[in-house]
């Protein structure tokens, strides 16, 4: 109740109504020190424009790429990011935590 949320869910609805493909990515689980708590979300449209954050900047690029697939296929995906990933140098969390992110299509 105490979090100030930029109104990204309103943006998701507006984008969808304007005819965009839209995906919503939500942090559903965190281990260790993760920059954003469960429930934080990122909304992405088919032009690659996004609002909000799931990690404060560490993995947003990868999430946006996956979101494009989800918009196309319509099938939800669960993503996991952590320093143990082989792609850690590219998209790992420098803080040492692990997060799972649920990506779903809107509409």
């Amino acid at each position: 109740m105490l979090d100030r949320d930029e109104d990204i869910l309103k943006a998701a609805e507006d984008w969808q109504k304007a005819g965009h493909g839209v995906a919503l990515a939500t942090v559903v689980e965190t281990w260790g020190s993760a920059p954003r708590p469960a429930g934080s979300s990122l909304v992405i449209n088919d032009e690659g424009t996004f609002l909000g954050s799931v990690s404060g900047g560490c993995v947003e690029g990868a999430v946006v790429t996956e979101a494009m697939d989800v918009i196309e296929s319509g099938k939800p995906k669960m993503l996991e990011f952590g320093v143990a990933d082989e792609t850690a140098w590219n998209v790992g969390l420098s803080c040492g935590g692990t997060i799972r992110v649920f990506v779903e299509k809107v509409g």
């Binding site: 109740m1 105490l2 979090d3 100030r4 869910l9 309103k10 998701a12 609805e13 969808q16 919503l24 939500t26 559903v28 689980e29 708590p37 469960a38 429930g39 099938k75 939800p76 669960m78 649920f102 779903e104 299509k105 809107v106 509409g107």
Partner: protein
């Protein structure tokens, strides 16, 4: 997420009504549960707990992995009285995430110099309060020590079902306040809702310490389950 669910979620959020979105993280299936429907829901214990904590979480139920995403309104704090305590209380409450408004018809008190960056309403409560949309996600604190200002404000807080109502004053002062409020139509359960003397008993002396005591009490009321809440008070 289906557009109908997103639309309903946004409508509930705009109306400052708490909801929890339940997502089956394997199938992607979702449903939106409004707080007023919790009692009849199979997940009611989990829903109640997560809403109270303001925290999203994963649960397993009926062999399904579910993610409960909590959407609760930003809490507000309305402070009646632009007094010394309020100068400490307003920034402290803001740092805890509350939307803070200070109301005091006395313009010498309600001045921007004394409250930089804090929304101030220099009007009597009857005029100031209705537009503030005081609700069940509002903590309400009356600290002017002046019955002409505090009393009508408290009556408004009763009516709007604020989750916390506190008023400054000793037990003796509070007993007199109770008599006055009763005479104006308040009932016993309204009066019993006022936390007075205000704040947790931590021996607070300075305005800043009193502000800490008040915010500690508000936090306890907000976060603790009902039984532990009674023990803390």
């Amino acid at each position: 997420m289906k557009l109908e669910i997103l639309h309903e979620l946004n409508a509930e959020r705009a109306a400052r009504r708490p909801v929890i979105l339940v997502t089956d993280t394997e199938s992607g299936e979702q449903r939106l549960v409004k707080a007023r429907d919790f009692a009849g829901d199979p997940l009611r214990a989990e829903l109640d707990k997560q809403l109270r904590m303001g925290k999203s979480a994963n649960v397993e139920a009926g062999g399904k992995k579910l993610f409960l995403n909590v959407y609760a309104p930003t809490a507000k704090l309305v402070i009646i009285g632009a007094v010394h305590i309020s100068q400490a209380l307003a920034p402290l409450a803001r740092s805890l995430g509350y939307d803070v408004t200070v109301v005091d018809p006395r313009t010498a008190f309600a001045s921007p110099e004394r409250f930089p960056d804090i929304p101030l309403v220099a009007e009597w409560p009857d005029t100031a309060l209705p537009p503030l949309n005081v609700d069940a996600y509002t903590a309400f604190v009356a600290v002017t020590h002046d019955p002409k200002i505090d009393d009508p404000a408290l009556l408004h807080a009763f009516e709007r079902n604020c989750f916390y109502i506190g008023a400054l004053g000793s037990r003796k002062t509070h007993a007199k306040r109770g008599d006055r409020l009763r005479a104006q139509g308040a009932n016993e359960s309204d009066i019993a809702r006022i936390h007075a003397p205000i704040g947790l008993a931590i021996g607070a002396v300075s305005p800043s310490e009193i502000a800490v005591a008040i915010m500690a009490e508000i936090t306890a009321v907000l976060r603790l389950p009902p039984k532990e809440k009674e023990e803390a008070a």
